[in-house]
């Protein structure tokens, strides 16, 4: 397990720029998938507007480190601010919705994703409208300038590993057990004295924070953000990462992200059919393998037990 990041790093040292960029995006999507998985896989709720939190993170970096307002805060600080803002948005959105039945969350987040895009498009004074924000600062972290896709690969390997450890330990914690209880039977969970609304709210906010984190990295990587990057299709792709990879299994997110990022690259000639294929894949996977390619049981804890046992 610990070999995987090392293997990716070794690969990163030898690959040319174009595959490196793809690898960067695989890791970024794996990270987003792990974040969304907290809501979809652990809590069993559907969030169709995850891209909103990603957008909040990206615009946080774009606004606080660009000539737009002539602010140039350090990257590490914005990583914190971006995820905090996304978490705050998650809490504010979650309060009215999470008291209710789970399916309300799906439609409200769907709407929220769209609303954020409308705001980004129209708040010209703040976000520069549809033109987006360009000439975003180069990210520097502890004196290390992130210039090339290779630098970002190192950063992303680090961040994704941290997020991986975090979501794994979250799943195994008392909080993770509470989430599983809410997912399996909300009434029984309440009977056990679990504050179901509170648990769902924390899960939602944590997931949003990881989305915001991903957004900051995305903005630093592209050094340009515009509302176009944050459509519903982006949310759907991240949902697919979770569903394809395996609901509730962080390993699955790496596989799901790999498939979701590589497939469109390989099928460039059929770009018109991409979303159609996404739709068909979603239906087929849910019907044939509702838990995704990696089942929940075969998560990190299972592997750890295997390794110790062997």
């Amino acid at each position: 397990m610990a070999l995987m990041p090392i293997a990716v790093l070794a690969l990163g040292a030898i690959l040319p720029t174009y595959p490196l960029r793809i690898l960067d995006f695989v890791l970024l999507y794996a990270m987003l998938g792990m974040g969304l998985n907290i809501v979809v896989g652990y809590a069993g709720l559907l969030d169709l507007g995850y891209v909103a939190f990603y957008a909040i993170g990206a615009y946080t970096y774009a606004l606080l480190a660009s000539p737009q307002f002539d602010l140039h805060l350090p990257f590490a600080l914005i990583l914190v601010i971006g995820s905090a803002l996304a978490a705050l948005a998650g809490v504010l959105l979650g309060i009215p919705v999470l008291r209710l039945r789970g399916d309300y969350l799906a439609i409200v987040t769907l709407g929220f994703g769209e609303i954020i895009r409308v705001l980004m498009n129209n708040l010209d004074g703040l976000t520069n409208g549809p033109q987006g924000i360009a000439r975003i600062d180069e990210a520097t972290i502890l004196g290390w300038r992130l210039e090339s896709p290779r630098d970002f690969l190192f950063l992303l390997v680090g961040l994704t590993s941290l997020v991986f450890l975090f979501v794994w330990r979250l799943q195994e914690s008392a909080f993770g057990t509470a989430l599983a209880a809410v997912r399996e039977d909300q009434d029984a969970a309440r009977g056990c004295g679990i504050d179901t609304t509170g648990v769902k709210l924390i899960a939602f906010a944590t997931s949003a924070a990881i989305g915001g984190l991903g957004g900051v990295v995305f903005a630093a990587m592209q050094r340009f953000v515009s509302p176009e990057s944050f459509t519903f299709w982006e949310s759907l792709s991240i949902v697919l990462v979770v569903v394809v990879g395996g609901l509730g299994n962080p390993f699955g997110m790496v596989l799901g992200a790999g498939l979701l990022v590589l497939m469109p690259e390989l099928l460039r000639a059929y770009a018109d059919y991409r979303q159609l294929l996404y739709g068909i894949a979603l239906v087929l996977i849910i019907l044939a393998r509702p838990m995704g390619l990696f089942r929940r049981e075969y998560g990190p804890s299972w592997l750890a037990r295997k390794l110790i046992g062997a």
Partner: protein, 313 residues
């Protein structure tokens, strides 16, 4: 005064269309306790199928009967599409978690939207009007025949639906399954038929709404269902999801809120909040209802507490 009357007419027209779509959401929710994510695409597909049907029949301009027939074809075709969505995305998953059917229905929505895009084209389609031309003036307000027809069609369909649900034996079965599928099957009602019927009527009404909407605005795009679906769902929640009169009330109310907010907000806020935020009004309404009265105006209780007593199937 004339402007207010004009706004009322406009609000009623838009509201009637929202109400027609909201009926589809609320009926599926009433029976399955699930949101039909594919419903918004029925609206779009209906508008496109009707144009194609009219083209085959020899063009819309020829005879008003062709418009009617094309509308009927769209109703039946989209109704069957709805039934097939139920067969593929809902029926096999009836006993699984609540997450699974939502995802499969979402997949179906994506498939339908992309088929419409690939067949109908990416660019907005200049939509031929299925509705009669002409205007009448009442107290300074201009009422188009289009608006009158939309209101009449919506009213006829709603009354028809109400009669079907309240007066026929099929309606009794639908209500029985909505109350409790398990109990209904104990008294010999096979829940599959009422559920299939719901998935026929709802999308059919959605298709008609699509034709009315596209004729009213003169344009149809493959992605137009997204926002309209959102608004119709808001209308269904506003009226109380699961309630048929609620969907109609919610649709009309949302039409009014949206029309008047769009008309007055720019003046009230001195241009800070402009008409480009029209879509945000509906969403704010949704969040506010969920915050203060999640059961809507005429609906059942949907809070967590209620779930203890009323289990879903």
């Amino acid at each position: 005064m004339a402007t207010i009357l004009q706004q009322i007419i406009n609000a009623l027209t838009v509201g009637a269309i929202y109400a027609l779509i909201a009926l589809g959401y609320t009926m599926v929710y009433g029976v399955l306790r699930l949101i039909n994510f594919a419903h918004s695409e029925m609206f779009t597909a209906g508008a496109f199928v009707a144009v194609a049907a009219a083209g085959v029949l020899g063009g819309i301009a020829g005879h008003p009967g062709i418009a009617l027939l094309a509308g009927l074809i769209a109703f039946v075709a989209i109704g069957l599409l709805g039934v097939s969505v139920e067969l593929v995305a809902y029926r096999p998953l009836r006993n699984s978690s609540r997450l699974a059917p939502m995802l499969s229905a979402l997949g179906m929505a994506v498939v339908i939207q992309n088929v419409v895009m690939l067949v109908g084209g990416r660019r907005p389609l200049i939509y031929p009007s299925f509705l009669p031309r002409g205007v009448i003036q009442v107290a300074g307000a201009i009422i188009t025949y289009k608006q009158i027809t939309i209101l009449v069609v919506a009213l006829v369909l709603m009354v028809g639906l109400e009669l079907l649900i309240s007066r026929t034996s099929l309606g009794v079965k639908i209500r029985a399954v909505a109350e409790s599928a398990e109990t209904a099957s104990l008294v010999g009602i096979n829940p599959n038929l009422p559920i299939a019927l719901i998935f026929f009527i709802g999308p059919g009404l959605g298709a008609v709404a699509g034709i009315l909407y596209a004729s009213y605005y003169g344009v149809a795009t493959f992605s137009m269902g997204f926002i309209i679906g959102m608004k119709a769902f808001t209308a269904a929640i506003l009226g109380g999801i699961g309630s048929i009169p609620g969907a109609v009330l919610g649709g009309l109310l949302l039409g009014f809120i949206e029309t008047f907010a769009t008309a007055w907000m720019p003046t009230l806020t001195h241009g800070v909040i402009g008409t480009q935020y029209r879509d945000i009004f509906a969403f704010s309404v949704l969040v506010l209802i969920l915050l203060f009265r999640p059961s809507g105006l005429l609906g059942e209780n949907v809070s967590e507490e209620a779930m203890v007593y009323k289990r879903d199937f």
